[in-house]
């Protein structure tokens, strides 16, 4: 498989401006002293690879940095460090404002969370889909009309609806407009940020199946961001679990959900409501996540909520290690490998490296 997107050690920090000692800080700045603002480590040294035609899922709780990561990858915001390569071309160094007019802008497109909020209310469905074609592909007139209608058709949007405004469309139709707009420029990578979160379960299946059909037809890669693990399981080949700015586990989607190794993934999987009362493990997380502001680099991010929480965890932060075909960031991952799949399978998994 060829690599489409190669993300290497990407970080995004946000300085935290206000605080109780703002006056003191102002004084220091006026007197010429260098000052270091505290920072939120929204995305901290994340590396990932998306192959051509692959669907990668990104899961994690709210505030873990998945949206920031996605916005950095789609080059809507600038990164604090690291490299983002699309088909070998470095994109991270270009400022986001310049990238908006870049030739590769059309190759990474995004489907936003709530189509009702992300479509200009004063644009008709036609305009919404035509906008990226006009701006990025410079298509005009008759060709534009044909292209928009073709894309709308691909997304199951009848052309009579194209003259309507977002408020005149149903939730499912709006979702289709959002998808049509994103695929209009024939991107190689489509980033989907909870595309079905605003939809009812009755419509959800149609939209997911539409997405899967489009991917097969157009050969796109997907990065699918969701907190709904049962959807990620259905749609994705590969999954990454994020916790407080770091990837804690990644691997083939089915394997990760069937036998999660990282304690956070285990809690996440145990928390998914299973249908018809299939017995669920009662593995629950205590307390709240640690603060993402200037986290101690020597403490595991999950320490304090983790059911293991050994003394090692607060003196040495675990790195993302390769175990079999997965990556896990936990000192004790091997114990789960052995305990959960048995030593024989663990040995087999190790041979695959």
């Amino acid at each position: 498989m060829t690599v489409l997107l190669d993300v290497d050690h990407v970080s995004k920090f946000f300085p935290v401006g206000s605080g109780p000692n703002q006056l003191a800080r102002l004084k220091r700045r006026l007197s010429g002293g260098a000052e270091k603002l505290p920072k939120v480590y929204a995305v901290d040294n994340v590396s990932l690879v998306i192959n051509k035609g692959e669907t990668v899922g990104l899961v994690g709780e709210s505030g873990c940095g998945k949206s920031t990561l996605v916005r950095a990858l789609t080059r809507l915001i600038d990164v604090s460090g690291g490299s983002i390569k699309l088909g070998g071309r470095e994109l991270a160094l270009k400022p986001a404002r310049v990238f908006a007019r870049d030739r590769d802008r059309a190759r990474i497109q995004m489907v936003f969370q709530d189509a009702g909020d992300s479509i200009n209310p004063r644009f008709t469905a036609f305009d919404a889909i035509a906008d990226p074609l006009r701006r990025l592909r410079n298509i005009r007139g008759k060709t534009l009309k044909e292209r928009v209608e073709a894309v709308a058709g691909q997304c199951g949007l009848p052309s009579v609806l194209l003259s309507r405004f977002p408020h005149q469309l149903s939730g499912g139709q709006r979702a289709r407009v959002g998808i049509a707009r994103a695929i209009a420029t024939e991107p190689d990578l489509l980033v989907l940020d909870e595309p079905t979160a605003a939809l009812d379960v009755s419509v959800q299946a149609v939209i997911l199946q539409l997405l899967q059909r489009l991917r097969r037809e157009l050969g796109m890669s997907y990065l699918f961001v969701s907190h709904d693990l049962s959807l990620v399981r259905l749609l994705c080949d590969h999954v990454m679990v994020m916790y407080l700015g770091k990837i804690v586990e990644s691997g083939p989607a089915r394997a990760v959900f069937e036998r999660p190794w990282h304690p956070y993934t285990q809690a996440l999987v145990a928390a998914v409501p299973r249908f018809a009362g299939a017995a669920a493990e009662r593995l629950r997380l205590r307390g709240e996540p640690r603060s993402p502001i200037d986290p101690d680099p020597n403490v595991c991010r999950f320490y304090g909520r983790c059911p293991i929480g050994a003394s090692d965890c607060k003196t040495k932060a675990p790195v993302l290690r390769r175990i079999g075909c997965r990556h896990v960031a936990c000192h004790f991952a091997e114990e789960f490998v052995v305990q959960r799949v048995g030593p024989v399978h663990a040995a087999q998994a190790n041979r695959q490296i």
């Binding site: 709780e61 709210s62 149903s170 009812d200 379960v201 009755s202 419509v203 959800q204 299946a205 149609v206 997911l208 199946q209 899967q212 907190h227 709904d228 693990l229 049962s230 959807l231 399981r233 259905l234 749609l235 959900f257 069937e258 809690a267 996440l268 145990a270 928390a271 998914v272 409501p273 299973r274 249908f275 018809a276 009362g277 299939a278 669920a280 009662r282 629950r284 997380l285 307390g287 709240e288």
Partner: protein, 335 residues
């Protein structure tokens, strides 16, 4: 009404007057809740789940009007009771947890004071002792450092903590019935599990009955002993959880089960429900509001709506329910 029922809703109908006509939001909604039992109201958005709860609590929007039915809570008909009578029941014997804790809490009052208010008003606690008891309530819902948190404001807390505060307020007066309206929507799955555990623990400790409103059938199946499925203001099926999930009789319930992601082994098995909810302003609504979407429609469907008992405590509003051993693709747990 059986002796063990806490709440018995019968024939509840609600209308909303709007500029574009009357919206018949609820029509003949009937269900009951037994002592200590957890039931779930499940349906798509617009199916009337929340309106049912609001009607029972007497907090319908001024445009809404109860046109028919009764809701017997003990000896009191909640739908006919005077506002004064209702005020004595609400918050004390029946309380509610709302969907978005951040907007339901008072943003400019410390959370401890908000709990103390309820204790003084409904819990018969002297005003002097209320702040201390409020701290105890915060501790009981699992908030760490409750004494400090009691003087905090909702904006200083995460969504999960706000929901814990909501639960503390709702349970402060030890109600015998709790209505939880999508209590975990907008929360993470890990937090959802903890909050649902918390509600369930209180329910068992205190023998409290719970009406749990959700759109997530998988979550309902895990938490409720009985599920009431609603569609366009009608109760279409009311059955014990396991029967409903493995042996749904109403075509809509079956579609809903097939559309639940956890029930599917892969994406192609995931079914969508064709059509959409009918416009409830229509004057020519068919007796069965699902009939226009229904694959099993018969001639009878446009004449009247039956309420058929198809098993012990299993009621279906359908002329042509699915046969008992309909092969239902179900990969429970899937792993």
């Amino acid at each position: 009404m059986t002796a063990s029922s806490v709440l018995c809703v019968e024939g509840l109908s609600v209308e909303f007057r709007t500029r574009s006509g009357r919206v018949r939001a609820l029509d003949n909604v009937t269900f009951n809740v037994r002592k200590g039992e957890t039931i779930a109201l499940v349906g798509e958005s617009g199916s009337g789940k929340s309106v049912s709860a609001y009607a029972i609590m007497g907090i319908l929007d001024p445009a809404g009007r109860v046109t028919n039915g009764q809701a017997m809570f003990g000896e009191i008909d909640l739908l006919a009771a005077s506002p004064k009578r209702l005020a004595a029941v609400r918050g004390r014997q029946i309380s509610m947890i709302f969907q978005n804790p951040r907007t339901a809490l008072n943003p400019i009052r410390p959370v401890g004071r908000q709990i103390a208010d309820v204790l003084v008003r409904h819990g018969r606690v002297p005003a002097r002792e209320a702040p201390q008891q409020a701290v105890e309530m915060l501790r009981a819902v699992g908030i760490s450092d409750p004494a400090r948190r009691a003087s905090g404001y909702p904006f200083e807390m995460s969504g999960g903590m706000c929901q814990r505060v909501m639960i503390a307020i709702a349970l402060a007066a030890k109600p015998s019935l709790l209505i939880a309206d999508e209590p975990t929507t907008g929360l993470d799955v890990t937090t959802q599990a903890v909050i649902m555990d918390l509600i369930a623990d209180f329910a068992t400790q205190r023998g409290m009955a719970t009406i749990f409103i959700t759109h997530d059938l998988a979550l309902a199946s895990q938490r409720a002993t009985r599920i009431v499925v609603m569609h366009a203001g009608h109760v279409v099926e009311n059955a014990p959880t396991l029967d409903l999930c493995t042996q749904p009789r109403h075509p809509y319930t079956a579609e809903l089960v097939a559309a639940t992601p956890d029930s599917a082994a892969n994406l192609d098995d995931l079914a969508a429900i064709p059509g959409s909810l009918p416009d409830l302003r229509r004057t020519d609504l068919p007796p069965c509001r699902y009939s226009e979407r229904c694959p099993r429609k018969t001639e009878l469907c446009s004449q009247s709506l039956p309420l058929t008992s198809v098993g012990p405590e299993h009621i279906v509003a359908c002329w042509n329910p699915l046969p008992v051993h309909a092969p239902l693709k179900l990969a429970i747990g899937a792993s």
